[in-house]
């Protein structure tokens, strides 16, 4: 685990370096295990993103980085996931105390995104400027990306707004999922003991409750259920700027401490007890949405964010969607919500025009 100073040091060292025919230009983001640079393809001059693993990373981070490359290549046909262009491992020259030392660096070359969704919502002013049709489109894009991943046998396991990338293609903006460092091939057997999965990984404020209560599983349906929760949490983020877990469970450190104590004693708690806490937060979130989509959003959030993982996998509560796969009914609902919002917008424009005409006459 690198400190901020170490990461700043690597940022300095790597900026301007050439890796596999790409020149690292500007550091776009600093993550816990790596850095993302805007880079130039030296042959074509094209703009590209290069994700570099910090050379000081431990074996687990290296394995995750390598796994990400494999899974991104596997998902390269999916338009809901960031495109993997190239990758590898190269030596760069590092000067230390006047001595030049070759340093091996692992990197992925990825399509360049215009922005990530968190950039649109971290500031409450820009979030409020983002109209609800756009927010639901973003949500729909993430659902589509996750659905494609699941169909390809991959779970994302780290879904949040900062991992949702926006690509401007012509006049349209498409969402693509990025950062598959924690993704899991659902068709391969677990690579760790169950202890390695009970807690899940990453930012705790986004973690599904089963991970905070150390009840995560290592079966495919466990990973899928966690992704569903991530989708619900993304919709909450789009509405409030905060992840669902943080809003519903409060002090996540205290939760984890209690869970660790229970775990040490070989005991487990019933996650269904959290229902009322989640219900309260969902009510808060729905309250912020336009009236025309409140009912659908309530159904979606109640289903996706059920604190009991198995409940998230239940079929659609809508009769006509009962035969479709879980994420397909979510996509259909998102489409309905978008249409409703478009109708609202049309109505509003019509009313405005009417008012203008009345004022003019």
């Amino acid at each position: 685990m690198a400190t901020q100073a170490e990461r700043d040091g690597w940022k300095k060292i790597l900026t301007g370096q050439k890796l596999g025919g790409y020149e690292l230009q500007e550091c776009l983001g600093v993550g816990f295990f790596g850095l993302v640079f805007e880079a130039r393809n030296m042959a074509t001059d094209a703009r590209i993103a290069v994700k570099v693993l910090l050379p000081s990373s431990d074996t687990e981070a290296i394995a995750d980085f390598e796994n990400e490359a494999i899974l991104l290549q596997k998902l390269n046909g999916c338009d809901g996931v960031i495109t993997y262009v190239d990758g590898g491992q190269e030596n760069i020259d590092m000067v230390a105390n006047g001595v030049t030392v070759p340093m091996s660096v692992r990197f992925h070359v990825l399509a360049m995104a215009s922005a990530s969704v968190d950039e649109l919502i971290d500031d409450p002013v820009s979030r409020s400027a983002l109209d609800w049709t756009e927010r639901i489109r973003i949500f729909r894009g993430a659902v589509k990306g996750i659905h494609q991943m699941h169909l390809a046998g991959v779970a994302h396991r780290d879904l949040k707004s900062s991992n949702c990338l926006l690509m401007v293609i012509g006049s349209t903006t498409r969402l693509r999922l990025g950062d598959l460092g924690r993704a899991k091939n659902l068709r391969s057997s677990p690579t760790k003991s169950i202890e390695g999965y009970v807690k899940g990984r990453g930012d705790l404020r986004f973690a599904a409750p089963e991970f905070l209560w150390l009840q995560g599983g290592n079966a495919a349906h466990d990973f899928i259920a966690a992704d569903y929760y991530g989708l619900g949490s993304l919709l909450v983020e789009l509405a409030t700027g905060q992840p669902l877990t943080s809003l519903a469970l409060g002090d996540v450190g205290a939760v984890l401490k209690q869970a660790a104590s229970d775990h040490h004693r070989g005991q487990t708690s019933d996650l269904a007890n959290l229902n009322l806490q989640y219900r309260r937060v969902i009510a808060e979130v729905i309250d912020l949405m336009p009236r025309s989509i409140q009912q659908d959003a309530h159904v979606l959030l109640t289903s996706l964010c059920d604190p009991v993982p198995a409940e998230r996998l239940a079929r659609s509560p809508y009769n006509r969607d009962r035969h479709v796969e879980p994420l397909e009914w979510i996509l259909r609902r998102a489409d309905i919500m978008i249409r409703r919002l478009e109708i609202d917008a049309r109505e509003e424009r019509r009313n405005t025009r009417k008012l203008e005409r009345t004022a003019a006459s």
């Binding site: 500031d123 900062s162 005991q267 009510a283």
Partner: protein, 589 residues
């Protein structure tokens, strides 16, 4: 009651925490308690898990710092405050949440509305969790909160006792769940009937709301609607079968109602689903067992509760169990009272604010010299005690000090607050009647006691004593006669009743019979009985009306006071009364 006018409460099921489940804020954080734990596999690599947790906490903070650096907004700062809180960095968390709220206040002033309401709610919650209630309340009242968020903040303020401010947020709300919060607020204020109405409305909208069902059950219980309380508690357990607080509340009500059959059924059903029994469940099982008279099994269950409480780091439960073990051992005669008091005082030093330890001490202490320590302990624990418990402890202290006036005042207060406690009833009758000669008032309590406990010898004895003194000697004789045979205290009181009905010979004969029975017990009750007889003869005016020589001949011969009479409440009560009336002490004929 082991002797006349002595309230013996050591045996009573008084020093258990009688309200395991308090009112619950609807949809509140249930991370630390409230969930039934089930046994699962024992964790194998706990160190590896601790490392993973530490890494995740560091990563959480790192991500939040990075975002707040990139965009310093109320959203990112609140996220950072939450991350600091998760790591236990409370000062940083408070400072960051404050900065986030300040940004919200400025923005709301400029725009006229709150642009980031949910972050504001989260930041206020962080301040309140950190104990910064004043700051949290100030921000809450400064921000133009609306809708669900306004209701959530109101509920949060109610949960930390800011009831007046909470009303401003809840009363005019039309948000979903208002009835549930309103009911919680009303129950917190002791407005139980209003709470019942609100909570019923809440349950009509959301029948599976276990928080409201629990609160409704508590409200029903508080207004004396016990059957409804139990059926609502049952509804709560069925809505949330995994909720420990709800389950314990239901079991507690079953114990209070003496419905041990249902209690056993519920325990069996918990065992079937392999619920790992927490300390509180062992305590309830111990209480049910003790109430059925199986002391040995009860003690064993308390010992298991003690181990569980230690493992759960539940100090309150540990103190409760330990204090009760000491009390029961003293009551059982396994340890003497003095040793029990010493141990309870030691426990009090360990848990100075524990109400349960103090109540146990008040039950066990039986000497005047214990009162200073009890008084000091009361000052430390007062803030954590219910009014009824404070009144009970103050009554015990006043009685041990021989302060009859204060003992009567506190006994009445105790009875008013806990009219269902049979000991409170005895205390009121004894302290008002025998201690204060306020016979008419005492007779009212006595008649209530006879209605509630028509077959309880202790209640009958005290009631008959008071009725005889208030002029209803015939009624007293009728009450006592079926119960007096073979019972020292009741026979003596029957003697008193005959004296009051001017049947001096029969009265004195019964006193002598009682004294002979007392003689066989080889304790001090004969000395106390002699003093009582001398007092009663004076109170009934027989000393002037009767032939003094004959009266003296028929009365009990004088017996010396025990060496430690100055330490004992039963003698001190009489001495104080004798001093007030100008009678010589010791009282003799």
């Amino acid at each position: 009651m082991s002797s006349l006018g002595q309230l013996e409460v050591i045996r009573a099921d008084k020093s258990f925490d009688s309200e395991t489940a308090g009112p619950t804020l609807p949809g509140s954080d249930r991370s630390r308690s409230g969930s039934k734990a089930r046994n699962t596999h024992q964790a194998s690599n706990t160190h590896g898990l601790d490392v993973q947790i530490a890494n995740s906490l560091a990563e959480t903070l790192d991500a939040a710092i990075s975002k707040a650096t990139y965009a310093r907004s109320s959203t990112t700062l609140t996220a950072l405050a939450a991350s600091y809180e998760a790591l236990g960095a409370i000062e940083e968390s408070v400072a960051t949440a404050t900065e986030a709220l300040q940004l919200s206040v400025i923005s709301a002033r400029e725009r006229g509305f709150l642009i980031d309401p949910v972050s504001a709610r989260l930041a206020i919650e962080i301040l309140i969790r950190a104990g910064r209630t004043d700051e949290g309340t100030l921000f809450a009242t400064s921000l133009p909160l609306v809708g669900q968020v306004r209701l959530s903040v109101g509920a949060m303020l109610a949960s930390v006792g800011r009831l007046e401010e909470a009303h401003r947020f809840v009363d005019d709300s039309d948000a979903q769940g208002r009835d549930a919060v309103c009911g919680f607020l009303q129950i917190m204020e002791g407005n139980n009937y209003a709470a019942i109405s609100s909570l019923r409305a809440a349950l009509r909208t959301a029948p599976d709301d276990a928080d409201s069902a629990l609160n409704l059950s508590i409200a029903f219980w508080r207004v004396g609607a016990k059957k409804k309380a139990i059926s609502t508690a049952l509804q709560a357990t069925r809505s949330a079968p995994g909720r420990q607080d709800v389950g314990l509340h239901y079991l507690e009500l079953l114990i209070a109602e003496g419905d041990f059959e249902r209690f056993d059924r519920e325990i069996a059903s918990l065992a079937r689903i392999d619920v790992a029994p927490p300390a509180r469940l062992f305590i309830l099982r111990a209480r049910a067992t003790l109430a059925r008279g199986d002391i040995d099994t009860g003690v064993k269950l308390l010992e298991r509760a003690s181990e569980a409480a230690k493992a759960e780091n539940d100090d309150q439960a540990f103190a409760e169990v330990q204090s009760n073990l000491i009390r029961i051992r003293a009551w059982n005669g396994k340890i003497d009272r003095e040793l029990a008091v010493t141990r309870l005082l030691k426990l009090h030093v360990q848990f100075p604010t524990s109400a349960v330890v103090l109540v146990s001490l008040a039950q066990v202490a039986n000497r005047r010299r214990h009162t200073t320590a009890m008084q000091n302990a009361l000052e430390l624990a007062r803030g954590t005690m219910s009014d009824a418990r404070i009144a009970f402890v103050e009554h015990q202290i006043a009685s041990l000090e021989g302060n009859n006036e204060l003992a009567a005042e506190k006994a009445v207060e105790w009875y008013t607050l806990e009219p269902e406690d049979p000991n409170a009833s005895i205390a009121a009758v004894v302290a008002l009647g025998i201690g204060q000669e306020r016979w008419e008032e005492a007779a009212e309590f006595a008649r209530e006691a006879l209605l509630k406990y028509p077959n309880e010898p202790d209640q009958i004895n005290n009631a008959a004593y008071v009725l005889a003194m208030v002029g209803d000697a015939e009624e007293a004789i009728k009450l006592l006669t079926p119960h007096a045979k073979g019972r020292v205290v009741l026979t003596a009181t029957l003697g008193l009743a005959y004296l009051a009905s001017n049947q001096i010979h029969t009265g004195m004969k019964l006193y002598r019979e009682a004294a002979n029975m007392a003689e066989q017990k080889k304790d001090d009750s004969r000395s106390l009985m002699t003093a009582y007889q001398a007092l009663v003869v004076r109170q009934l005016g027989l000393l002037n009306a009767s032939d003094l020589t004959a009266l003296t001949a028929m009365s009990l011969p004088p017996v010396a006071l025990p060496d430690d009479w100055r330490e004992r409440s039963e003698f001190l009560r009489l001495q104080t009364l004798a001093a007030d009336k100008g009678y010589e002490w010791p009282l003799t004929l």
